[in-house]
């Protein structure tokens, strides 16, 4: 109960901090619209309304991933610049309960990108949003947000130990767009890419959202997405103690 309360309050304060920068806010509003516009122009040539919805849903998950991967790693780096990393490590709370709200707040911001993308598509490009399984769609979206948040958590654990690891978030932003099939079907990639895609929760998340919206059986991708999210959470929580111990040993907590 205490742990849940800590995660919930941490999440609220992280969102509060994110809302305080007008510049970040403006970029956060505009950025998903750029993704969406590019995707719509690419897919418009097919003249297939389902293809346009396919692109809209893919680009909306792109927004969730981008806001989480890049921002979660930089959020940890910001803790270093503020000098708060040492302050939070010095508290008795388990460090994973401090990190999870940071990444969850980032992926929550990503939900905006989903809504903005779909509305942008609806009003500017006339893409109708007809959801075949609304209930499963309502499950698939938060499951994807949670899974991406926990993948961001796993990435941010490395930033605790290596101060330049925030660049990892940037480096993974575009490759994940591709290998998770946000815009291009996975069948177009060589066979060796598939195991990588399957290990990444966004692959299952976007598949679940698409199958819930366009028709299909989203139950399996939703289950895979939630299962991988749990795996990321457990792996991160187990890793965080080792990483923190290493950071205390090598005196990297105070470095900017």
């Amino acid at each position: 109960m205490k742990a849940l309360r800590l995660v919930a309050i941490g999440w609220v304060f992280q969102l509060k901090m994110l809302s305080r920068s007008a510049f970040d806010g403006l970029l956060g509003i505009l950025w998903p619209l750029f993704f969406a516009t590019t995707a719509f122009f690419m897919f418009r040539t097919s003249h297939d309304p389902r293809a346009l919805l396919y692109a809209a849903l893919g680009s909306s998950v792109m927004g969730i991933w981008s806001s989480t991967s890049v921002a979660a790693s930089s959020a940890l780096q910001r803790e270093r610049w503020y000098g708060t990393l040492e302050a939070i490590v010095g508290t008795p709370a388990h460090f994973s309960l401090v990190l999870i709200p940071i990444t969850l707040a980032m992926s929550t911001v990503g939900i905006y990108s989903m809504a903005a993308t779909l509305l942008w598509g609806r009003f500017l490009f006339g893409i109708g949003v007809h959801i075949v399984h609304p209930l499963l769609f309502a499950v698939a979206v938060p499951a994807t947000v949670l899974a991406i948040g926990l993948l961001g958590f796993l990435l941010s654990v490395t930033v605790v130990r290596y101060r330049t690891a925030w660049a990892l978030g940037n480096a993974l932003e575009y490759p994940v767009w591709l290998v998770c099939g946000f815009l291009v079907p996975l069948s177009l990639f060589p066979g060796w890419v598939r195991p990588i895609s399957w290990a990444l929760a966004p692959t299952w998340g976007v598949r679940a959202i698409r199958q819930a919206a366009l028709g299909g059986a989203p139950q399996i991708p939703v289950a895979a997405c939630i299962g991988l999210a749990a795996l990321y959470g457990i792996a991160g929580a187990l890793l965080v103690d080792t990483v923190l111990r290493s950071a205390r040993k090598s005196a990297t907590l105070s470095l900017t």
């Binding site: 205490k2 309360r5 800590l6 309050i9 941490g10 304060f13 509060k16 901090m17 305080r20 920068s21 503020y82 000098g83 708060t84 040492e86 302050a87 939070i88 490590v89 010095g90 508290t91 008795p92 709370a93 401090v98 111990r245 205390r248 040993k249 090598s250 005196a251 907590l253 105070s254």
Partner: protein, 322 residues
């Protein structure tokens, strides 16, 4: 039982240089120090920059793992029982970093209450009490980025006391504060000690250590060079006298002549706005003034005075090994 114990506590850092041929250099920041702080005691750790004060403190508050040796807080090992140590210790940062600038002071305290596991009911009482104690009541809803350095420092103190820890560790808490703010803060620190808390304090200011601390350890180059009450430390230089000379534009050569002058035991220079204050220690009863003025040659000299040694003189003598 001692509240804080350090036994042969040692910490080294590895520094690498070079791009193609990486070279690793080991720096000994703390070289096997021993000290103990009793429960309810206000203990000062004094030393120049780079002496190992902050490294020592960071090992005690579990942010660094010692290279060797051991440290305990209320009997709990800082390495193997880190979480218990964190519950019983409050760490007050020095300087203006270490708070969430985009949040208000109140939100900072509320968040850290959660991190320290302070129950919501206790938070409602504790936060206003601490805001009152540190003088931030009425400003708590403002964002920290708009706080002055002194206000940020007071916020650090409130944060360090949120979980009502029996042991409080303060790293140069008055650094950069204006004289009135520093005096108020010293008053707060004294109140904490009166309330029965064990306080470990690092400071550069001798008068602060003299006025507040029950005992002081002087640390230089990672080793404790002296330990005792302020009056016991002053007795190190009780057999000396101090000559103060104000000089304008003191060249190195003149300073070297003063150092080499017979009878001189220690020389230090304090840079002031337009003048350097030369502090020369010598055995009591030895009349050195004329000899020192001769060493200065053509250097323009202002006030010259002889006085009894202070704790600061004892400190200079201890850290310079003279």
């Amino acid at each position: 039982m001692a509240a804080i114990e350090a036994e042969k506590l040692r910490r080294t850092y590895k520094q690498t240089s070079g791009f193609v041929r990486r070279r690793t250099k080991t720096i000994e920041a703390v070289r096997g120090i021993d000290f103990a702080v009793d429960e309810g005691e206000l203990f000062g750790l004094l030393g120049p920059n780079g002496a190992g004060k902050t490294t020592t403190i960071k090992m005690l508050v579990t942010l660094l793992i010692p290279t060797s040796g051991a440290a305990r807080v209320l009997g709990h090992d800082v390495v193997h029982d880190a979480r218990t140590v964190r519950r019983s210790i409050g760490y007050v940062f020095g300087g203006d970093r270490g708070a969430y600038e985009r949040l208000s002071g109140l939100d900072n305290l509320r968040y850290f209450c959660e991190l320290y596991g302070v129950p919501p009911k206790v938070q409602k009482r504790r936060i206003p009490e601490l805001l009152e104690l540190v003088g931030l009541m009425g400003r708590e809803k403002e964002r920290v980025e708009g706080y002055s350095r002194g206000m940020k420092q007071r916020l650090h103190i409130a944060r360090g006391l949120l979980h009502d820890p029996p042991v409080v560790v303060m790293d140069e808490p008055t650094i950069g504060l204006d004289p009135v703010g520093a005096r108020e803060l010293r008053h707060t620190i004294a109140e904490l000690a009166r309330a029965g808390k064990t306080v470990l304090l690092t400071t550069h200011y001798m008068y602060e250590a003299d006025a507040l601390c029950d005992r002081i350890a002087v640390i230089a180059e990672g080793e404790i060079v002296a330990e005792g009450t302020p009056s016991a430390l002053k007795s190190v230089v009780a057999d000396r006298t101090v000559v103060e000379i104000e000089a304008y534009g003191l060249p190195d050569a003149a300073l070297e002549r003063v150092r080499a002058s017979p009878g001189v035991t220690s020389v230090s220079v304090e840079e002031r706005e337009h003048v350097q204050l030369l502090l020369v220690q010598a055995p009591k009863g030895l009349e050195l003034t004329q000899q020192l003025l001769a060493c200065l040659g053509d250097v323009r000299v202002g006030r010259v005075a002889a006085r009894e040694p202070t704790l600061e003189d004892a400190y200079v003598s201890l850290v310079t090994g003279s």
